[in-house]
Subunit: 154 residues, 2 copies
Amino acid sequence: MNVINESGILGISTRLQRLSEQLRKDGFQIYKTNGIDFEPKWFPVIYTLHFKPVLSVVELATEIGYTHPSTISLLKELEKEKLIRSKKDKQDERKRLILLTEKGKKLLQQMQPVWQTMVVALTELTNTSNNIMKAIEEVEAQLNHKSFMDRAKK
Amino acid sequence: MNVINESGILGISTRLQRLSEQLRKDGFQIYKTNGIDFEPKWFPVIYTLHFKPVLSVVELATEIGYTHPSTISLLKELEKEKLIRSKKDKQDERKRLILLTEKGKKLLQQMQPVWQTMVVALTELTNTSNNIMKAIEEVEAQLNHKSFMDRAKK
DNA sequence: TTAATATATGTAGCTAACTACGTATACTTG
DNA sequence: CAAGTATACGTAGTTAGCTACATATATTAA
């Protein structure tokens, strides 16, 4: 058995998490140096609302692929920043509809060039012989087909 | 600008984190169904102590690539489980030396076949056209050479 | 039309890493 | 050898997701 492989692949979970943290931290700094007060974790919410301007909490959660409690906590932060607001759905009183504020829409416009820069930088960074975005997608597809758990059951 | 790409790559941090969580959760279950009371996050510590049986806290932290506070909290848990123990370094009174207990050594032996199974399963899972372990290594190398931050500065 | 079930939202508390900071011991240098 | 610096360890508090549970409204079925 190959020691390096063993310790490498069994530590994959930690490796993924730490790479995630590093990119997020840099992401935050990049917004900051561009004079934008924005956190990378808010991106999926704001970006989704750009294309689907009115969504309920759960619809939004589904759209960004988070659980609803995680989404609620993001929404709380974004509401505090006055980047989004919400209103009751008249048809269904259980629902809270989420919308960008004017401030949110304006910020979104300001962020466009920064996003463009980040996309270029990230594309350059991940344009290696094994593309990490594709690799993630492939592993996710593999997991969808058969979980790690099931694969280890023999 | 490609919308799918943009939302994809700018959300890379979250994707990495969630894949990490999923693998860790399954990892825990796999130990469990094999009758082993062990958490995936403990792996680097136990595995390292297998090859380097006596290490100080900071040496161990460096070895596994964690910060020392993170390492200390893992060590606390492992001490509670009686899988490791510690003793003062006589040469340097600041240091606390970490060792596997007999229970720890025994568990390590019991885990070998499970690790083997997991390595096989993970290798199968990640053996896609873009290999995720290699991709992580390549991105880490790229980052080492020039950070995401620096790449976005133009 | 009430009872049972389903859906939408919210709250509380967990996890696994981190940074910032504090204290104790060791080392170095004037 | 005393003062300043470096190293080792520890604690406190943060983060960004999560699960489990609670409550309110809506829908369905007897």
